[in-house]
């Protein structure tokens, strides 16, 4: 057996071992979603009777499709806003030099540290003054203004790793900064941008507190809110709740799986110089 083959086998076994450990939570959720309600809290793995109709019940208990549409709309808008604005801001911090840069960057980091619970109330009052209550504006428009300190930080770290010589060469050639940003840095940072997109998607998809306080109309609800509302009832059917969670997790899992292709190629920096 060649060295490489041996190495591959070892890696594969390790991957499999870990996979067993990581799949357990999901298996439990899956198994509970198929159990009859009375058996939900029993400590057995396989349901005695497989109740696939729990999945159908989900659509009865929650306006699933409507909420899904709302979740998708909010997520899409937020992702677009976040990716665009955080990348351009990160470019300013990571690739440009200007007076005050480091000081302002400290402010950016600082905004990550304030616990949400307490800004929540003044922020709510402010949105009320703006007349944005009962719309999706509070959930989406802030994304276009910087996209969040974390994303800026993340992209800045990536951008900083791009050789300065590359950028300087383009500057000497007469390229505008925007052109450099758009044509050189963005393509190079695809994995990073894809990551920001996925992270933003994950966050908005699962966010329930925002929709809770800003969307009062039943028709505006999102999936996360719908599930939280169902879980928050006095006696929810846990099996149906688990089924709903599975359905809600599926899009995220599928998108994650598909986005993998951005991570397969290992591109090289030196290739750019040609």
């Amino acid at each position: 057996m060649t060295q490489k083959k041996l190495k591959n086998i070892m890696i594969f076994s390790l991957l499999t071992l870990l996979a067993v450990m990581f799949i357990i939570p999901f298996l439990w959720i899956l198994s509970t979603s198929l159990k009859p309600e009375s058996a939900v809290f029993s400590f057995q793995w396989l349901p005695e009777t497989w109740k696939f109709d729990n999945y159908l019940k989900v659509f009865e208990k929650i306006p699933f499709l409507l909420y899904m549409k709302n979740s998708i709309v909010i997520s899409l808008i937020t992702i677009i806003g976040t990716v665009l604005s955080s990348s351009i801001v990160a470019y300013a911090f990571g690739c440009l030099e200007w007076p005050g840069r480091n000081t302002i960057f400290i402010f950016v980091i600082a905004t990550m540290m304030l616990p949400l619970q307490v800004i929540m109330i003044p922020l709510f009052i402010m949105f009320k003054e703006l007349g944005w209550l009962n719309t999706i504006k509070p959930l989406t428009i802030p994304a276009f203004f910087g996209g969040g300190a974390f994303n800026i930080f993340l992209l800045r770290q990536f951008f900083k790793s791009i050789p300065k010589s590359l950028l300087d060469a383009a500057r000497i050639d007469g390229c505008s900064e925007f052109r450099i940003y758009w044509s050189i840095v963005i393509p190079l940072a695809k994995p990073a941008l894809a990551t920001v997109a996925i992270l933003t998607f994950m966050f908005t998809w699962n966010d329930f507190l925002g929709p809770l306080i800003y969307l009062s109309e039943k028709a505006q609800g999102t999936l996360a809110l719908g599930i939280a509302q169902y879980a928050g009832q006095m006696n929810p059917e846990y099996s149906v709740l688990m089924a709903a969670s599975v359905l809600m997790m599926l899009p995220v899992i599928i998108i994650f799986f598909l986005f993998q292709r951005y991570f397969i190629q290992a591109f090289t920096m030196s290739g750019i110089k040609e």
Binding site: A19, P25, S85, T111, F153, K160, R171, M249, Q265
Partner: protein, 306 residues
């Protein structure tokens, strides 16, 4: 930090600076509109007695002094939170990194493995907590059943004041395949291949590659995550809120949980605001320390010499 005059004089530098200001304007506007107002109000509230439903009453620094000197739970909750942070952050970062290295192999089916590792990280807090209440159940839970299999009498986990925090830390380990791993993976993928080749030419093995090429080049990302993880860990809340409510014997009364109790159970928004600002200061201090330390081990390819 170069002189401002330099920026004004040299055309190339000026062009960069102007572009800089232009490009960060979205954030500046956002910060002024969505940041400054809530922050200022929050500071004001921290100096008041305020229950949200009525008007604030200015009481100066009484909230702060009560917190620091008259509060039975303040120091305990800080200890709980720091304990949690200090143990969790290294575990989780090293775990994610190793996992990322592992799945960075173009092996058959690696996409599926990555997805499997990813899944636990997107399970929402409510569901996750009921899941773990089940797994950690001392009598019938999966963990203790498996331990019993190999002859160990498992502890009471969430019901034991000594094991409650470790239980929650353990839960975090399941999320190492999530966003973090993804980001590390992206970082690993952007390391230029030819650098590895040059190490091989000089006779180095995988450890040399890792230590001299990989680690330095992805150190910016590791640094980012260590900052972020500290911030996130200091704000730990949902697990304790759902599973233990701070018990047993306040062993899981984390700072943010205590803050939440004060804000929404006791309607003490002023007190809670003061707590938030103290947390901010503490986190700020830790972050500054991390930044200062970063000069020693973080390496930026863009700026450093090759």
């Amino acid at each position: 930090m170069t002189n401002i005059l330099e920026y004004i004089k040299h055309p190339l530098k000026r062009k960069q600076a102007l572009a800089g200001y232009l490009f960060i304007s979205p954030w500046i506007i956002g910060f002024l509109v969505f940041g400054i107002y809530p922050i200022c109000m929050s500071v004001y509230y921290s100096l008041c007695q305020y229950d949200v439903l009525r008007i604030p009453q200015f009481i100066g620094f009484r909230n702060y002094s009560d917190l620091l000197f008259n509060d039975n739970y303040f120091w305990g909750s800080i200890w709980n939170t720091l304990f949690f942070t200090v143990i969790r952050v290294p575990l989780v970062i090293i775990g994610s990194l190793l996992l990322a290295v592992l799945v960075n192999n173009a092996i058959k089916g690696v996409k599926i493995f990555r997805t499997i590792y990813f899944i636990p990280s997107i399970i929402t807090g409510v569901i996750l907590s009921s899941l773990w209440l089940w797994m950690l159940n001392p009598q019938y839970g999966l963990i203790n059943s498996m331990l019993a299999y190999i002859g160990i009498d498992g502890p009471l986990w969430l019901n034991d004041p000594n094991w409650s925090k470790p239980s929650i830390i353990m839960m975090s380990l399941w999320s190492i395949g999530g966003a973090r791993m993804l980001v590390f993976l992206a970082a690993l993928q952007s390391v230029p291949q030819h650098l590895y080749e040059s190490v091989e030419l000089e006779g180095g093995n995988w450890w040399h590659k890792f230590k001299h090429i990989t680690l330095p080049l992805i150190s910016p990302i590791i640094f980012l995550w260590s900052i972020l993880e500290v911030i996130v860990s200091m704000q730990v809340f949902i697990e304790a809120y759902i599973m233990t409510k701070g018990g047993p014997l306040n062993s899981t009364l984390f700072y943010n949980l205590y803050l939440y109790n004060k804000a929404f159970d006791d309607f003490e928004m002023g007190y809670a605001s003061a707590m938030a600002w103290i947390l901010f200061i503490i986190t700020m201090i830790i972050t500054v320390i991390q930044f200062k330390g970063s000069k020693r081990w973080v390496y930026y390819e863009g700026e450093g010499a090759k």
